[in-house]
Subunit: 195 residues, 2 copies
DNA sequence: CGAATGACAGATTTCAAAATCTGTCAGCAC
DNA sequence: GTGCTGACAGATTTTGAAATCTGTCATTCG
């Protein structure tokens, strides 16, 4: 009946489009099927439930964020403290940009992430791992104070949650936000540098 | 008609009671008037609007939190870093206790605070001032690294927002929360101590 | 006279009926 | 057979009419 084959990927893309237009409360699988020109029964052939479909959307979105972010983090930037500063700065900038360019869509993904918290915590796990790698390096080279890298990485992420946790997105527009994030990062870097 | 005089204070107390019972969405000034055995017109003699009444409630509540907290902070605790640790720990504990003992009421006050953000930021200003005083002392005595006390105080508050900002109240029940707050506080204290 | 009342207009909320949606599945089309 | 459709039951959402609420004020009460 249709040229294209209709696979899970297409359905996820269509769902993303409907979410973009109607927001998380009002997107129905019937809307998704309509956009694809297909009956809603066909969507249920590929996903067992609406929840599973929404989970696939947020998973794919966070995977893309992860890839963007890993690319930004790859820069060498000599001393570990500076590499860490670069990583955190890139992380904040990436999120702030997304939140600013389309606040409603960002809010939509935030709802999906809250709905599927295991996917969200996997994402947090990835962020911790990125930080942990730099911290472990720095401790190895004697640039950073000794300690358990995993614990330190988690503390760093917790201490900066105001600047990366989507819960705080509403505050990211306020004038002093950039300066405040820099002060917090400076505080943290002083805290982990070897004495 | 009634023994008691009916002043603003009584009305605020009655409003608090109605908020406790019905939550922020469903409390009406008619309910408040009913609880007081008075017509709603009388309430409007003391407050120009429902918003002003709600503001008075959150203001009084935050004033009480402030007083409790100032009492807890008054302990000497020798070195400035330890005084600061005590202050932060007391702050977290006070909020966590309130959130745990009655989560719905806590959520209610959170709604009121969001509604009247100028009152909330005055409260934040108070918290900053408490921290600033200790930091300024510590810098003066050479125990803490040099810097602008106000800026440092604000950075400390921002770095710990995950543990005191009501936005994060839902996360305060998770098992590792206490340990994580201790790690963040340790990180911060290392960051501000003189080298 | 000062304090409280209750009727009122317009705004907001509630509630039940109607519409729509989710998830299943027997059957149609290729 | 494989992939899709559309009818269906029960759950959820929308809708608009009725009820309630906010804020004002002329009037009453002591």
């Amino acid at each position: 009946m249709r040229g294209e084959p209709l696979d899970a990927e297409m359905i996820v893309s269509a769902t993303e489009e409907v979410l973009r237009r109607h927001g998380p409360e009002k997107t129905t699988v019937l809307d998704v099927a309509r956009l694809l020109g297909v009956s809603h029964g066909s969507v249920y052939r590929h996903f067992p439930s609406k929840a599973a479909l929404r989970e696939a959307v947020i998973r794919r979105w966070l995977d893309r964020v992860r890839d963007d972010f890993a690319a930004a983090a790859r820069g060498p930037g000599r001393p570990p403290a500076e590499r860490l500063r670069g990583l955190l700065t890139a992380m904040f900038a990436a999120k702030w940009a997304k939140a600013k360019e389309d606040p409603e869509l960002f809010a939509t993904f935030r709802v999906l992430a809250a709905e599927h918290s295991s996917v969200a915590s996997a994402h947090v796990g990835f962020l911790v791992e990125q930080i942990r790698a730099i911290v472990a390096d720095g401790i190895g080279s004697g640039d950073l104070a000794a300690g358990e890298p995993e614990v330190i990485a988690r503390a760093v992420l917790n201490a900066t949650s105001r600047f990366h946790d989507p819960l705080h997105a509403a505050e990211w527009n306020t004038p002093g936000a950039v300066a405040e994030s820099e002060h917090v990062v400076a505080l943290i870097l002083d805290g982990i540098r070897a004495r």
